[in-house]
């Protein structure tokens, strides 16, 4: 048992630290902070600026990608360090749809033309991707999806509706699961994996507003959209295999440990300023106990993640532990967003950044904390709800 970083790891850590210090733009930090506080939508530039900077530096925008595709090919320990440092410095996170999701599918199952066409834009952050998986009738039961793709000459004609398409409003491309064989014996067997240019005629994006008023997700409609057959990944009707690969691929960081740690630190700062019974809230036994409980859970989760990473780096292969990391990671994220909201008392109330009021009220640190709490109810639902994750563990780990 050895949890010590090697000298190379420590050198790597300070290299990352220095790079962030020198290269993370202050304007970006300011722009994002001021919008976050007012609950305002981040622009495409806000979401991709840091990605673009990392993309120009040894493939750091793609920590897991192999070097031959331009990635950084970090070791699991390096990935862990990289995430820690980015979270500590509160860097904008990299949108996962290109780098973590479709990228690995393309370099694993795509052909040479597809790799040449798509990988450079994903790596550099110039091309913005979104994910077309869920449909109104297909949430947890993803394989029941109905969006159809019918081959007509050298095109697929796509019809149907995707939903929860995160940041589709900025996307250049969408990767979609579509039904190419409606008569397959099992629903999983008739699904294909298609890449679709969002500018194709017939693609329509409509915003869905979440309960905090934010616009992150959309409905995406396909009305006789003509997609060239060369945009099919791998083989027709094999899409489910690629989809599953994609879901299991990126485990590092799924638990969000580093960011939750940062969030707890922030809550302690807030609770040191807020007063209750004439004393700083941080001294309140009930509040203090909740912070401590979150810290213990996070400390345990950090070591669960490290154990998983260590297993990965020993080449023991990924397992369904990612479900455990997802369940516990999102539990903690939700607990932490709740504590932050709780810490500011009455100032959880103001809803700023709407058309009705555009001015700050209350302490600077209090703005939009309730919005974040309400927003984060999504975490235990998306990416396979936490109930579905339990089903996966029950089947894959416990053999039930």
């Amino acid at each position: 048992m050895d949890t010590a970083f090697s000298n190379e790891d420590l050198k790597f850590q300070s290299e990352i630290r220095d790079f962030i210090k020198t290269n993370y733009p202050q304007e970006l930090r300011d722009s994002i902070n001021s919008k976050r506080k007012l609950g305002k939508e981040l622009s495409r530039e806000d979401l991709t600026a840091w990605h673009k900077i990392l993309g120009k530096h040894n493939g750091w925008s793609a920590p897991s990608w192999p070097k031959q595709y331009g990635g950084a090919e970090f070791t699991p320990t390096q990935k862990y360090i990289f995430e820690q440092e980015c979270a500590k410095a509160e860097c904008q996170y990299i949108m996962p749809f290109g780098i973590n999701m479709v990228g690995p599918v393309i370099y694993t199952f795509g052909n040479e033309e597809q790799k040449a066409q798509h990988l450079p834009g994903i790596l550099s952050g110039e091309v913005f991707w979104c994910q077309g998986y869920s449909e109104p009738g297909s949430g947890s039961d993803l394989a029941s999806l109905k969006t159809s793709a019918v081959k007509e000459g050298d095109h697929y004609i796509v019809n149907g509706q995707k939903t929860w398409t995160t940041m589709a409003q900025y996307a250049d491309w969408i990767f979609c699961l579509v039904r190419t064989n409606p008569d397959a014996e099992k629903p999983q067997q008739g699904i294909s994996f298609l890449l679709i240019d969002m500018k194709t005629p017939g693609v329509t994006v409509r915003p869905i507003k979440l309960m905090d008023g934010s616009h992150e997700v959309n409905e995406t409609w396909f009305d006789n959209v003509r997609v060239p057959v060369e945009n099919l990944i791998g083989q027709e009707n094999m899409g489910w295999t690629y989809a599953k690969f994609l879901l299991a691929h990126e485990r590092s960081g799924i638990a969000g440990v580093a960011r939750s740690k940062k969030a707890i630190e922030r809550i302690k700062q807030i609770a040191s300023s807020e007063m209750s019974y004439g004393e700083p809230l941080i001294q309140d036994p009930a509040f203090k106990a909740k912070i401590a409980a979150a810290e213990l859970e996070l400390s345990a989760l950090e070591y669960t993640e490290l154990r998983t990473l260590a297993k990965d780096s020993a080449g023991k292969g990924p397992g369904p532990e990612s479900s455990l990391l997802k369940i516990k990671g999102t539990d903690i994220q939700q607990a932490v967003t709740e504590l932050a909201m709780e810490a500011v008392g009455y100032y959880a109330n103001p809803h700023l950044g709407t058309t009705l009021s555009n001015e700050y009220v209350g302490p600077d640190y209090a703005t939009n904390l309730s919005g974040t709490y309400f927003n984060f109810r999504k975490a235990s639902i998306y990416g396979g709800s936490n109930e579905i994750q339990r089903n996966i563990i029950a089947k894959m780990v416990l053999g039930l």
Partner: protein, 392 residues
């Protein structure tokens, strides 16, 4: 970074595993705990032969020079077998104090005897009013010529009835709750002035109430410096707490695995009860709690235990979190076993009882939560730094 055992640790793990497999089947264990003595001398001899009794001791005294990770391996396997022999009281608790504080002479005379299995020791620290506070010591020791005279009462001393020697904490100076003024004494359990009231515990271990009346102890049998024992007591109890947590993690694994198996096999309404999603999710949550318990144990074992603040924080974090896991996994195991869970005859209740009593040992969940909070409460804590330090 890896969590694999070294070659030596793998050997140790295999050795303890086979001991438990070969010598601790359920019927054998039942006979041991029902016996007058409550432990089996033959097993102790085997521990000695296998070198287990020397794991944490310095090589200079014939030990193996093991660390918390090695003790974790032993205790985890002992947990899986519910091994009742007094390894924790003798080797880790009393042995730890002697290693930490003993004079060369004391170490040379006692440690080899422990390692060879000739003697067993126990540590009498708790008192009826002290609860988990190690500093709350009323038992008094007054110097009279070359002897100290001790008077007082020690509660729930694990393994005292099997011990040839007791280490007793007594107040030589200061107020009842003062950290300074506590002194340790090593005494023969047969000494005049010492009365042991032995009894079984609910989880089938053995403990004693120790009544101390005008017990004369020579100055030579003071362990460490007079008045200065507190820091060492706290440290060794912390190390022992990690060992207890390791035992608990072994038990939780058995509870989780055996309950999963039971649910697969138990049929109701014409099918295995494990086909019910409500059962499946409960089993998954048991597994998650077990993994989280194991993870925070690893955190504590790999923390820098030589730094006292780091050690306190890591130990209390682990004990508090594992205490929570014990309650959830233990109670769930009983619940999912249904009627089989509540009977004495079936194994699961015994694992549950032991785990629950480990929850109390050296301070329960609330006690360690409070200690953890006290260590980290000053606004922006160093917890962030602490965690990264323990990884680096």
């Amino acid at each position: 970074m890896n969590f694999d055992y070294t070659e030596e640790q793998t050997l140790l793990d295999n050795m303890v595993t086979s001991f438990v497999r070969d010598n601790y089947d359920w019927d054998t264990r039942c006979n041991i705990v029902k016996s007058e003595e409550g432990w089996k001398e033959e097993n102790w001899k085997q521990f000695a032969e296998l070198g287990l009794l020397g794991v944490p001791f310095d090589e200079a005294y014939g030990g193996l020079g093991g660390k918390s990770a090695d003790l974790m391996i032993v205790m985890e396997q002992f947990g899986k077998g519910l091994v009742v022999e007094p390894y924790l009281p003798t080797v880790i608790l009393a042995g730890g104090l002697i290693s930490k504080l003993g004079s060369e002479e004391q170490k040379n005379s006692i440690i080899p005897e422990i390692i060879s299995g000739k003697i067993r020791c126990a540590f009498a620290y708790a008192e009826p009013q002290s609860r988990f506070d190690l500093n709350d010591v009323k038992t008094s020791a007054v110097l009279n010529g070359d002897d100290y005279v001790l008077n007082g009462f020690k509660s729930v001393v694990f393994g005292a009835g099997m011990a040839s020697h007791l280490i007793i904490s007594a107040r030589t100076e200061g107020e009842q709750r003062s950290e300074s003024g506590i002194t340790l004494f090593i005494v023969d359990t047969k000494s005049e002035g010492l009365t042991l009231q032995n009894y079984p515990t609910i989880d089938e271990y053995r403990a004693s109430e120790v009544i101390i009346e005008n017990l004369k102890v020579s100055k030579d049998n003071v362990l460490g410096k007079v008045n200065m024992a507190y820091d060492a007591i706290e440290e060794i109890v912390d190390i022992s707490t990690i060992a207890a947590c390791s035992e608990a993690v072994g038990i939780l694994q058995v509870l989780k695995d055996s309950t999963t198996e039971y649910c697969k096999n138990r049929k109701q309404f014409g099918q295995s009860i494990a086909k019910n999603q409500v059962i499946q999710h409960r089993l998954v949550d048991m597994m998650i709690e077990y993994e989280q318990a194991k993870s925070i144990l690893y955190m504590a074992v790999t923390a820098d235990l030589t730094n006292s603040d780091e050690r306190r924080k890591a130990v209390s974090a682990a004990k508090a979190r594992i205490g929570k896991a014990i309650k959830f996994v233990g109670e769930s195991a009983i619940q999912l076993h249904g009627g089989m869970g509540v009977v004495d005859e079936y194994m699961v209740s015994h694992y549950f009882k032991r785990a629950t009593m480990i929850g109390v040992l050296f301070g329960n969940t609330d006690y360690h939560m409070k200690r953890y909070m006290t260590l980290t409460q000053s606004g922006i804590s160093s917890s962030d730094e602490a965690i990264s330090v323990s990884v680096t």
